[in-house]
């Protein structure tokens, strides 16, 4: 089992409750932001020494819940301070962006890192479409065409042009080319049926970081595997990434309280604008088809789920190191995945607690679950 240390880089410099979208940046204190960026970077870099296999960056816009508007900038900074840990972009929100630019920047990261990039090519969560004024109904089609174009950018031996539905480029030859052959591994999100199928069709890794229940996650994994077989390939466990929030402490009550407080802060402070925009996109556009919309647990519903609910559902890692070991084993027994994405910085959980939790995870959890 491999483990990705993932960080959202939330802005915790204000406790103001905001429901508007976008969240007004007048509450952002740049000096505080600077302090947070550097603390978070130190934390993410420490993942290598602590034995994590990947470190994960992500892209979010116009909200305090994530300060990584461009994950590649953070990824580049981490590359300079690490040697072996994989740099997972989880990842570029492809339909919002220029695919040539994604191909170029990812190639830069791959070359700079000596071939350590995991290339997340994601559709994005609903509210991001408001941020970048992209039609949510085009998200799947844009993602599909862009991925094909990005792979061509990485692999074509001669300059070429592209005449597509959404993208038209008459002459392309990106500099640099990536180190990894044929190209960096692609990771796609698969939190609903259409996305799971899409990931299989593109021979990509499947990432599920926000599925509501274990049975639902298993359902999506099975669909991914079935679709892959129909397209002539067989995913291994290392092609499947499951995301978990994780709170590890010396005792269960501390771990649980920490996580509860962090989730409460997220719901109250960080997630207001997200919920507003998410509702708009979900109910006023065709970002989801009817099936996916019916099964999606939006941010409003997620805010009402308690840590106890998550523990009962087996959908969280929370407790002492021994408890977390058992939770990971149980999840693996059900899902058969090969990569677990660990998100410890939930809301405003103190950074010292995060560092201590990482230490406990490194010393007492990793050795027990590596072999899964």
């Amino acid at each position: 089992m491999q483990f990705c240390y993932f960080h959202l880089m939330p802005y915790t410099g204000s406790a103001e409750t905001v429901q508007d979208w976008p969240v007004a940046n007048k509450i952002f204190d740049p000096e505080k932001g600077r302090e947070l960026y550097n603390t978070y970077l130190d934390n993410m870099v420490s993942a290598e020494e602590l034995g994590f296999d990947w470190v994960g960056c992500n892209e979010h816009h116009m909200s305090p819940f994530g300060m990584m508007a461009n994950p590649n900038i953070i990824g580049a900074s981490i590359i300079q301070r690490t040697k072996d840990i994989k740099i997972a972009m989880v990842g570029a929100l492809v339909p919002l962006l220029n695919p040539i630019r994604i191909a170029e920047e990812y190639a830069m990261l791959d070359v700079l890192s000596g071939g350590r990039l995991i290339a997340g090519l994601l559709r994005g969560i609903p509210h991001e479409y408001v941020a970048y004024n992209m039609p949510p109904s085009e998200s799947h089609a844009r993602l599909s065409e862009a991925i094909d174009l990005i792979v061509k950018c990485w692999t074509e031996p001669e300059p070429f042009g592209w005449e597509g539905e959404f993208y038209q480029y008459r002459a392309i030859s990106i500099w640099p080319r990536p180190i990894q052959k044929p190209h960096p591994r692609i990771l796609m999100s698969g939190s609903n049926e259409a996305s799971a199928i899409h990931a299989a069709e593109k021979h990509a890794m499947l990432g599920i970081v926000s599925a509501p229940t274990m049975p639902r996650t298993k359902e999506l994994i099975d669909l991914y595997k079935k679709t892959a077989r129909e397209h002539g390939w067989k995913p291994t466990k290392d092609d499947i990434l499951i995301g978990m929030t994780c709170s590890v402490a010396d005792d269960f009550e501390t771990a649980k309280q920490q996580l509860s407080d962090g989730r409460a802060f997220f719901a109250r402070v960080l997630g207001g604008g997200l919920r507003t925009a998410q509702q708009l996109v979900m109910h006023k556009t065709r970002y989801f088809d009817d099936t996916a919309r019916g099964k999606f647990v939006d941010a409003s519903k997620q805010a009402k789920i308690s840590v106890d609910d998550l523990l009962d559902a087996g959908n969280v890692l929370c407790g002492t190191p021994e408890m977390v070991v058992e939770q990971i084993k149980k999840q693996h027994a059900i899902l058969g995945h090969g990569v677990t994405n660990i998100n410890m910085k939930v809301g405003d959980i103190p950074n010292e607690a995060i560092s201590y939790g990482m230490k406990l995870f490194s010393e007492q959890v990793l050795p027990e679950v590596r072999g899964l």
Binding site: K152, E158, W162, E163, E165, Y167, R170
Partner: protein, 267 residues
């Protein structure tokens, strides 16, 4: 713009051709399935004079003695440019089998060819790289990504069978034309190579080869198109054809929203 069918007498014999439109000339060499009046062609005929000669032996016409291979065909159409089109030189576009003939025209009769478009050209596929399936359903998928765009939604089986017989005269096998490959570097015409991203007949290696070996060439993928790219993506193909034929190398540059006529003459 409706095409008119005519006949003409060339030194090698009588040929049938279709013609429509007014303006700068374009010679279009059809594929191995015969003449298909695609949307890009009818659109081009709104601003150009488009000639589509019928390869002797196709569409019920007679084969001509002395025109027995693709190089002979190239010579036949060079004479067509002189005699019928009454032009010193013309833009030439060839699809599939027609692309092979067009490339030979550019190689052997360079003074007749202005700009060249090779759409999914035949004759360059490495041996064994692809093979048209014997299964009709699989063959349809190799040829068409959007067969619903075909008239009546299907390729007429009898037309394809007759065409295969006719093409066997000029291409008894589908090996790569090594003589032409050896001469690719001699072709001086500014060339646009188009390939569908889902082409099940002409592999991407053909685009790579032409891009590598030709002097003045641009290679463009047409997304979500199989071999019959004019049928699968008529708007996309029409747009890039018009832009390339109108602006030459200037087609690389996004002209923006102003009318194309306002673009500086780049040819």
């Amino acid at each position: 713009m409706a095409f008119e069918q005519k006949t003409a007498v060339l030194p090698a014999g009588e040929v049938t051709y279709h013609v429509a439109g007014d303006g700068a000339p374009l010679l279009y060499l059809h594929g191995g399935g015969g003449v298909v009046m695609t949307k890009p062609l009818t659109r081009l005929a709104e601003s150009r004079r488009v000639y589509i000669p019928v390869t002797p032996g196709f569409e019920g016409t007679s084969a001509l003695d002395g025109v027995a291979n693709v190089q002979d065909l190239a010579g036949l159409w060079a004479a067509f440019v002189d005699t019928v089109m009454d032009e010193d030189k013309t833009d030439v576009m060839g699809f599939s089998f027609g692309g092979l003939v067009a490339a030979w025209m550019a190689a052997k009769h360079p003074n007749k060819v202005d700009q060249l478009v090779l759409a999914a050209p035949g004759g360059f596929t490495p041996k064994g790289a692809t093979k048209l399936s014997d299964d009709p359903k699989k063959r349809l998928a190799q040829m068409y990504r959007h067969p619903e765009n075909l008239p009546d939604g299907k390729a007429p089986a009898d037309r394809m069978a007759r065409s295969r017989e006719a093409m066997a005269r000029y291409r008894p096998n589908f090996d790569r034309d090594e003589d032409l490959v050896a001469r690719l570097g001699d072709i001086e015409a500014l060339t646009l190579v188009l390939l569908g991203t889902e082409d099940g007949v002409t592999p991407a290696e053909v685009g790579h080869l032409l891009r590598r070996e030709m002097q003045h060439v641009h290679f463009v993928y047409v997304y979500d198109a199989a071999h019959a790219l004019e049928i699968d993506q008529p708007d996309r193909v029409g747009l890039i054809l018009t832009d390339f034929l109108e602006r030459g190398e200037g087609f690389l540059v996004n002209w923006g929203s102003e009318p194309a006529e306002a673009a500086p003459a780049t040819r």
